[in-house]
């Protein structure tokens, strides 16, 4: 016992005294423990110390202490295990219970356990048979899961493969490649099916692609690739209508209009006639007519487009090309009406903007013509009125004079044309 300790005297509170008292208590604790080392170990199953009456309310249930004896605690249990260990270190009852749970088998316990039903071989066998019959996740139930996952994996792989092949075929589809070639370098006003918007670039115009004009070899890579694929297919199936049409389309882009017209006329004659075929035929004729100045070709193009419009009334590409051809043929009123129809069907904002621009220009031109027409009618209404412009002109020494022309039999078949001529 600590010599400083005096039960009859109040404990001192000075730091030095406190230190001495604590040092004394510690030494007493250590000595007390060492003195026990020689004595026999405490009996772990002293019933009074670990029995049901011993534990205060705050103590855990006896079985919970077994957590301190189990396998390495899971992280989720570590806080509880730590708390139990700390509690047992400070609670004599729980410390004894823990010692009892972790001690070696005693003779008395051995005798008790030998008397259990389950200690006999028969008891164990009976229990084993019962346990073997309990529900389980057998191999046959695990297998479907395995098959399910394998099947799902294969299906996913197949889906990805199909997707990749479809994407590759779409990306390398000659039709798409021709459309991309058109968008890459749009050399004429008419549109091509499936092509995105691009401004016309007349400076890149490649007539014929003949070696002499310096344009050879300037076709886009897409156009050349498409051409190669088309040729390969046609080598295998020279009369395939679809591939022949694509060849004609590539001819148009390469400005080989004669070849294109020849192929497309043959396909139209053989049938079946589709709006797509008529659209390409119209493009070939229109471009050839523009290049050669042939009215006849451009009139044929408009005929084709009218037929295509009948077959596919809502196709914006057909309507666009038809409006351009009508404008070219001088059919201003018809062109305005077709542009208005086109604006109802087109969804691409860029193409829509071009349509609006063209319609606006056409309407301005129409208004201008109407103004001229009304002026002409006023001037031609009487002989005095006919003389008035000349007199006015002479009087004002106007730098310009208006020359009116009636119905034109030449040019582009315009119902009414006006020219503003310099003096």
């Amino acid at each position: 016992m600590n010599e400083d300790f005096n039960p009859g005297k109040a404990p001192e509170n000075s730091p030095r005294d406190t230190g001495n008292r604590l040092a004394g208590a510690l030494e007493e604790l250590i000595q007390g423990r060492l003195s026990r080392d020689g004595s026999p170990a405490p009996e772990p199953l002293e019933r009074e110390k670990i029995g049901p009456e011993a534990a205060p309310e705050a103590c855990p249930d006896p079985g919970e202490l077994a957590l301190l004896l189990g396998d390495q605690p899971l992280p989720a249990h570590s806080v509880k295990v730590n708390a139990l260990l700390v509690h047992a270190a400070g609670c004599e009852v729980c410390a004894d219970r823990l010692r009892a749970l972790s001690s070696d088998l005693s003779q008395e316990e051995n005798v008790f356990l030998a008397g259990l039903t389950l200690a006999s071989g028969q008891g164990k066998r009976k229990l084993a048979v019962e346990l073997a019959r309990t529900p389980r996740l057998s191999g046959s139930r695990r297998a479907p899961k395995l098959y399910l996952w394998t099947g799902a994996g294969l299906a996913a792989s197949l889906l990805i493969s199909v997707g990749l092949v479809s994407w590759w075929r779409m990306a390398n589809n000659p039709e798409r490649m021709l459309a991309e070639a058109y968008t890459h370098r749009r050399v004429f006003d008419l549109r091509m099916p499936g092509a995105g918007f691009a401004e016309v670039t007349p400076q890149m115009h490649l007539r014929g692609g003949s070696p002499g004009n310096g344009s050879a070899g300037r076709e886009s890579a897409k156009l050349l690739e498409a051409r190669a694929r088309i040729e390969r297919h046609l080598e295998a199936a020279p009369e395939d209508a679809h591939w022949l049409q694509l060849e004609a389309r590539s001819d148009i882009l390469e400005e080989k209009f004669d070849a294109a017209v020849e192929i497309l006329d043959r396909l139209v004659a053989a049938g079946p006639v589709t709006s797509s075929l008529l659209l390409d035929d119209a493009s070939a004729y229109f471009q050839r007519g523009t290049a050669t100045g042939s009215e006849n070709d451009r009139a044929t193009a408009l005929d084709d487009l009218r037929r295509a419009d009948e077959l596919a009334p809502g196709d914006p590409v057909v309507l666009f090309n038809e409006a351009v051809a009508m404008e070219d043929r001088g059919q201003v009123m018809n062109a305005v009406e077709t542009w208005n129809r086109y604006l109802r069907f087109e969804r691409d904002p860029l193409w829509l903007a071009e349509g609006r621009r063209r319609l606006q220009a056409l309407e301005q031109k129409l208004n201008q013509l109407k103004t001229h027409q009304s002026r002409m009618e006023r001037h031609l209404a009487s002989p005095q009125a006919m003389q008035a412009p000349a007199q006015d002109s002479a009087a004002r020494q106007s730098p310009v004079r208006v020359h009116a022309i009636g119905n034109s039999t030449t040019g582009r078949g315009c119902a009414l044309q006006a020219q503003v001529l310099p003096t």
Binding site: L26, I50, G63, A66, N82, L101, V129, L131
Partner: protein
């Protein structure tokens, strides 16, 4: 499968999906002694005289617990050392035994029964033969020492503080402490930890004496 030569871990894994009575019989043969012992010891902490029938019932419940939910415990078991299944079995047995008695008390008496000793708390007395005032004063000093240990968690971990008190206050030997898997130390490791805590505490209370490490036993 040669059941008698298979480790208990492998046997438990095999029984997770097996309907083979021979495999199960071997597992039961190896596990019944430990499950029975835990059931007996927990029973004696709940009731004064545990009958063999009660222990038999608890052991059967332990095995049925292993087979619940299509043998979930066995299926989920991941060996973490040699015969680690026995560690799991020890915890399952204690838990089942606990539940068994909780159930009985809940049914019969309407809840957990806590019996408080009415007499003198001699069981808690640290020093035999000391009077109440002296014991109280002694407890206060020990509480101050514990406060010292708590005040420096960076030097003395909570686990080491628990080991210190298990050894010096509860009279555990280093081997007994090492049997607690929660301690996570061998007997030598326990001795080393105790030596370190003791030296630190002596320094703290200003007691400069030669180091006397705790001896094994």
């Amino acid at each position: 499968m040669n059941e008698s030569q298979t480790s208990v871990n492998d046997l438990a894994k095999a029984c997770a999906h097996s309907a083979d009575a021979a495999e199960w019989e071997e597992l039961v043969r190896r596990c019944v002694p430990l499950a029975s012992l835990m059931a007996l010891r927990i029973s004696r902490m709940w009731v004064r005289d545990a009958s063999p029938a009660t222990v038999d019932d608890i052991v059967q419940e332990v095995f049925l617990k292993l087979c619940e939910q299509e043998r979930r415990i066995l299926r989920d078991f991941e060996p973490r050392g040699e015969d680690s299944f026995l560690g799991l079995l020890r915890m399952v047995s204690a838990s089942v035994a606990n539940d068994y008695f909780r159930r009985i008390y809940s049914t019969k008496r309407g809840g957990k029964v806590v019996t408080m000793p009415l007499g003198d708390d001699d069981a808690q007395a640290p020093m035999d033969g000391a009077g109440p005032a002296m014991r109280m004063h002694q407890s206060a000093l020990l509480a101050e020492l514990d406060e010292k240990l708590r005040s420096a968690p960076e030097s003395i971990a909570e686990r080491d503080r628990a080991l210190f008190w298990l050894y010096y206050r509860q009279g555990y030997t280093a081997e007994e402490i090492a049997r607690l898997s929660a301690a996570g130390l061998t007997a030598k490791g326990v001795e080393s930890a105790l030596r370190r805590v003791t030296m630190w505490l002596r320094d703290e209370v200003g007691q400069k004496r030669p180091d006397r490490p705790p001896e094994s036993g």
